[in-house]
Symmetry: C2
Subunit: 227 residues, 2 copies
């Protein structure tokens, strides 16, 4: 068998949550070159072991490890899903690097507890709408945009949205998620009817209690993962 030059392989995370109605991404400020001082997606290199006896960790495991390191959150609380791999030559000036990209959807109640400054690096939530071109390191702007595009595709046809609301949530809270992901307001009446159908279909169920809001309290619902 021929020997081949090998690329370095990283796993990068697009960690998203909803803060004050704005879809926000977790970014770290780079403390070293290249792109020193710029914001970047959290990530790290895949552990490969010696490659023969020990072939190292799975891609999903690497993503889960990075997520834990960066946020303290485990996969049981977060939707973590691979969406694409980026490998353009030159995307990292130091060497050939492939990034296997994952998005992680964090419930807003957990997002608030994320320790700001996990790995000694400066960590912050930034609303994606506020990001200007050129502020992200590497090709991370591309990676983020692909993640957002994929979410827009899937939000209507998967249970993705329920990963961005607390375990029990109100219809307006869920509506805020759809509005943020799709980038356009959702009609309250029509949205309510859609949710009603989800309840009839057994996807959602009513949860006890109500949520106190600035005005009229809203009923609570929860996602029925089982049965």
């Amino acid at each position: 068998m021929v020997s081949h030059a090998r690329p370095a392989v990283a796993v990068d995370l697009v960690i998203l949550t909803l803060l004050d109605g704005a879809l926000s991404v977790l970014l770290v400020r780079r403390g070293e070159p290249p792109f020193e001082g710029k914001l970047a997606l959290p990530g790290g290199f895949l552990r490969v072991g010696d490659g023969v006896e020990d072939q190292g960790e799975d891609l999903d495991a690497a993503a889960a490890r990075e997520l834990e390191e960066e946020t303290g959150l485990g996969v049981e609380d977060v939707l973590l899903e691979q969406f694409s791999t980026f490998g353009r030559p030159g995307r990292d000036p130091r060497m050939r690097v492939l990034s296997v990209a994952y998005y992680a959807l964090v419930r807003s109640d957990l997002a608030k507890r994320v320790r700001a400054g996990g790995d000694a690096a400066e960590t912050c939530w930034i609303p994606v709408a506020e990001l200007r071109e050129g502020v992200l390191a590497f090709d991370h702007e591309d990676i983020l945009q692909v993640a957002l595009a994929r979410m827009r595709e899937k939000v209507d046809t998967s249970s993705l949205a329920f990963s961005l609301v607390p375990e029990t949530f109100t219809i307006p809270e869920l509506r805020a998620v759809y509005s943020a992901v799709k980038g356009e307001p959702q009609d309250p009446g029509n949205f309510r009817r859609r949710v009603t159908r989800l309840i009839e279909d057994g996807v959602l169920e009513k949860a006890p209690g109500v949520r106190r809001t600035a005005s009229k309290p809203a009923a609570l619902y929860r996602f029925r993962s089982s049965g």
Copy 2:
């Protein structure tokens, strides 16, 4: 910067076409261990250059190169799209290998011209419905299934289906593509109405001539890629 052990990176292709109404995948018989004699998806290692000055080829370029080597077809005639990356430790017993997977959709008229036996290896089209568990090497069964699932998701919301019919095609031919991808027959009347809407929306247009069939000749249409 720390030095990391690196995985080998391959690009594997799920090359699909429609032969006699059956969705079929191009497979090669392996001539060497591991999995000698088993069928496998065509693929090859990513060219990385020296990794510093020359960082090698893009992922898409590697996929296009493999496609050309295996089928003689170029990207201008084929829809080639990355869909996932597979990296489970142990998926290749020799060493840690990541496979960046692409699907390639080939028009049936071109598929018939694919030289059977490209790289001296035995190459053949196999209907995916006829594949039994355990006949594919590595985790290629998984890769194929993920490709098919992705196609089923996208066939209704993208122009993917037009990559599987000849440049000018009849409505029944297009219907056969949808039936094969979705795995269930499509109602002729309803399907025709859907196509009619696509024509009204300017996605398709009538093409000159008719296709002679076993019975009544069918009108021809083509995809309007531009304007």
